[in-house]
């Protein structure tokens, strides 16, 4: 991270692009976008040293709405692209934006392995329990009895528990946020960026178009009554028994991030020919 040479501190506005979001009015993702830029301002990151990486879905539109370097790739693969970027360019701050469909369904395998690999990334999933961009189909976090055109009688399937999965797979930092609390979420994102290794934040981000009942989340969320633990088993027990509405940092581990050295070897490529020469 390069510290700014200018005396004037960067404000959240400095990280916003002039490109207008396509989100529906009232979408939780507007707040999450502002939490991103606030977090970058909290840490006074230079915009050009931040890369925002995403896949496909409403939440994945975030990169172009920032003034940072952005990468809007294919559906479900944001974590892979981000890992490649961070491993090749450890000097950058790499933040990944995803949603419950992109991150937990098509990208589920990469989620497991990103937690396990523990590359120094910050993974922010905006969870609204629905595929919004395709106009309202159930996602892995959708309640079993939620009816839609694609699931006329509900899916009948138990919801995916991303935080417990992240813990089991080895994520180093696990938190839950709420889009309706942009300052609190900015704080969480800033902490996640500072935490070494793979940091995962699940953000409850209402989709009032397809899940209007999520307006109620505002009255349901509460700050977690207990501080973050470094005991994964304890964190898992808490998460498996809570109602999904406790907000805050839930787990902070001490695993060393995965980062093989780059730029250390100084051999000339032609030196490698000795291996083949008779």
């Amino acid at each position: 991270m390069t510290s700014s040479a200018t005396a004037v501190p960067l404000t959240a506005q400095a990280y916003k692009s002039d490109y207008k979001p396509i989100w529906c009015p009232g979408c939780g993702d507007y707040s999450v976008l502002s939490s991103f830029t606030k977090a970058f301002a909290l840490l006074q990151l230079q915009p050009e040293n931040v890369a925002v990486v995403s896949g496909i879905g409403c939440s994945s539109r975030i990169p172009a709405y920032t003034n940072c370097y952005g990468f809007h790739g294919v559906h479900g693969r944001s974590l892979a692209a981000a890992a490649g970027l961070k491993l090749a360019r450890p000097d950058l701050t790499v933040v990944v934006a995803s949603g419950d469909g992109d991150g937990y369904s098509i990208g589920g395998n990469h989620f497991l392995h990103a937690c396990r690999r523990n590359v120094d990334l910050t993974y922010v999933v905006m969870d609204n329990h629905v595929y919004g961009m395709t106009k309202g189909q159930p996602s892995p976090t959708t309640e079993p009895d939620w009816e839609s055109k694609l699931s006329p009688e509900g899916t009948g399937l138990r919801e995916f528990n991303p935080l417990v999965v992240a813990l089991a797979a080895g994520a180093n930092f696990v938190a839950r946020g709420f889009a309706g609390d942009p300052n609190g979420t900015a704080e969480l994102i800033a902490q996640a960026i500072k935490a070494p290794g793979f940091s995962f934040i699940e953000i409850l981000s209402p989709c009032i178009t397809f899940r209007p009942e999520q307006r109620e989340w505002k009255s349901m969320v509460r700050p977690s009554s207990v501080p973050a633990t470094d005991d994964a088993a304890r964190a898992a027990r808490r998460l498996m028994t809570d109602d999904g509405m406790n907000i805050g940092v839930l787990y902070k581990g001490e695993r060393k991030p995965y980062q093989p050295p780059v730029g250390k070897g100084k051999k000339n490529p032609s030196d490698l020919e000795a291996e083949f020469t008779l």
Binding site: H72, G73, R77, G84, L87, V262, L272
Partner: protein, 584 residues
């Protein structure tokens, strides 16, 4: 047509076979080193049953005084350390009455299928000899025997064994040297085979100790590094794994790194991410992996991120023939992306060219900000050969990068060449979003017709307008008869063309290195005046033939000669096609 009997020949072909664990691959590798030590050239193709361990295995070799690029038409010597299931290789080891097969009578009857072809039989008591030399191995007897029959000097066998058994200590070395010597002396008692002609005097020949012993997979890995690659994401797959395994320790030595991915979807997206970050990147895979990667390769097309994907082709479709060669990924490489997606496809045409062509593909990817697919195959990838040092191109790929200027940065600016400066993250004032969505010149998502057409044109133009120079194809000879081929069929086609030329049939060879984008004007020149064009490839449907018919105005009559793997293209069958067609 009966051929005049020759007392000597240009090359000698040897197969050493046995059940898994018999050490035939070791014997083959050592024999190749012996040949190299003696100043010969040669190659060794590995063949095995589907088992991971155990099962039958064969080292198929061809040795000569000049470089060899393909297996011969038939085998002169087949040594069975044992005969278990070796009949399964019958199609891969063609033999006739000129060949000799040698086994241990105590190991049971030799497979009838070879005897039926007229191969003469020799007996060596492998089991008995191993017992009589405590601590020795049967494969070392086979090594000595093969060297003796091929006419290689025993000093070379000794020199190679002393080098390779150094770690094993004195007793092991003594026992196995004795075993090799026993095999070597047994050669005298075998039915005779035609020996190798004396080497032709050539001033241009590389000194034997400057030659390389290399596989195509190692060569492709090295070529990528020479092209500037410093990042690799790897997911293992037969027969491409050795590219990745070679790169794993090599990349850190030159300041790069390799990461193992969870699947091919991840590996290709990782290299796109790394390359977006400014670091030239590669992955290697085979058909099933390439299928998984196609979506992301399309992203690299649209977001204009340079990447190199090495496809070591194997028999397909689906799981197909994982450990056997086939040139059947032409279609997916040149056509296999959705949308109008121009991409670079480069095919090396020899094991040495796996270095040069992969280096070139990396340079093209970087200069053109495009994905480049390198079409190697199992034959190149897993064959070990003694080769002259391949050409190493003088430069690495140079990506045009951006610095902040007075105007706002436009990542996808329309330029004369179609290539627009690509900002490396960290560059102030140039932040942009690389996007799989269609975009405008600034890189902002746009679904407007005007932006779509402009960007489609830009991406097509930058590849079509580029000057690929002479590397697009190797063109040899001239004549009414043209053989057009690519990749590993080139070696056999080159030999067939040489035979046809020697018989007075004026023949030319066009071996395509650049499969995509198509080069219609260049091809028109290369084939000017050709009356018969034979398109040679190793797949079932003539994929290259169909592609050429679609993209090029081919002169004269055009015919496809193709057959699928696992049987290699052999010079004889191509030669027959040429002679029969030119006479009809």
């Amino acid at each position: 047509m009966s051929k005049p009997k020759e007392k000597t020949k240009e090359s000698i072909s040897i197969a050493i076979t046995g059940s898994g664990g018999a050490g035939v691959m070791t014997a083959g590798t050592l024999l190749l080193e012996v040949a190299a030590q003696a100043g010969w050239y040669g190659l060794m193709v590995r063949t095995s049953g589907p088992q991971i361990r155990g099962g039958e295995a064969g080292a198929l070799m061809r040795l000569a005084h000049s470089p060899v690029e393909c297996l011969g038409d038939r085998f002169d010597i087949l040594i069975g350390v044992d005969w278990q299931n070796i009949h399964r290789f019958a199609d891969e080891i063609p033999m006739d009455a000129s060949g000799v097969m040698i086994g241990d009578p105590e190991q049971g009857e030799p497979p009838e299928i070879f005897l039926k072809r007229g191969a003469r039989l020799g007996a060596v008591p492998f089991k008995h000899l191993v017992k009589s030399i405590p601590g020795s191995w049967a494969n070392m007897i086979a090594l000595g025997l093969a060297a003796g029959m091929a006419g290689l000097p025993m000093e070379s066998v000794k020199a190679v064994l002393q080098k390779s058994l150094k770690k094993g200590g004195g007793e092991k070395m003594a026992a196995n040297l004795a075993a090799a010597e026993a095999g070597y002396s047994a050669a005298a008692g075998m039915p005779p085979v035609q020996g190798l002609s004396a080497p032709a005097k050539s001033k241009s020949a590389t000194a034997p100790d400057k030659r390389w012993l290399i596989t195509g997979n190692q060569a492709a890995g090295y070529g990528a590094i020479r092209g500037g690659v410093r990042f690799c994401a790897a997911y293992p797959i037969t027969p491409a794994t050795e590219v990745l395994e070679w790169l794993a320790p090599a990349l850190p030595k030159v300041g790069g790194t390799l990461v193992q991915a969870e699947d091919e979807l991840a590996s290709v997206n990782m290299i796109i991410g790394a390359s977006y970050g400014g670091v030239p990147s590669v992955t290697a895979t085979a058909g099933p992996g390439l299928s998984l990667m196609t979506e992301a390769i399309g992203l690299a097309v649209v977001a204009e991120v340079p990447i190199v994907v090495i496809d070591v082709m194997r028999g397909g479709p689906s799981t197909g023939l994982p450990a056997k060669s086939e040139q059947s990924d032409v279609n997916i490489a040149v056509l296999g992306l959705h949308g109008d997606a121009p991409r670079i496809v480069v095919a090396p045409n020899s094991i040495g060219d796996c270095v040069t062509a992969t280096q070139w593909a990396t340079m093209l990817a970087e200069e053109l900000q495009s994905p480049a697919i390198v079409l190697s195959d199992q034959y190149f990838g897993q064959t070990r050969a003694v080769v002259d040092p391949p050409d190493v191109l003088g430069k690495v790929g140079k990506r045009v990068t951006a610095q902040a200027g007075a105007e706002p940065y436009r990542r996808y600016a329309i330029t004369a060449s179609g290539v627009s400066p690509m900002a490396v993250p960290g560059t102030p004032g140039c932040a942009y979003t690389a996007d799989g969505l269609e975009h405008n010149e600034r890189g902002l998502p746009s679904s407007q017709a005007d932006d779509h057409i402009k960007q489609l044109d830009k991406r097509a133009k930058k590849l079509a307008q580029y000057d690929y120079g002479k590397s697009w194809a190797d063109i040899e000879g001239d004549g009414d008869f043209a053989v057009v081929t690519f990749g590993s069929s080139t070696g056999a086609a080159r030999e067939a063309v040489a035979r046809a030329q020697a018989e007075g049939i004026k023949t030319r060879l066009v071996s395509l290195r650049l499969l995509a984008p198509a080069r219609p004007e260049h091809m028109a020149k290369a084939l000017a005046g050709a009356k018969n064009v034979l398109v040679v490839e190793q797949n079932h449907t003539g994929q290259l033939y169909r592609y050429l018919r679609a993209e090029y105005d081919m002169p004269g009559k055009v015919r496809s000669f193709c057959h699928p793997g696992p049987l290699p293209m052999r010079p004889d069958e191509i030669h027959q096609q040429i002679t029969q067609w030119s006479r009809s």
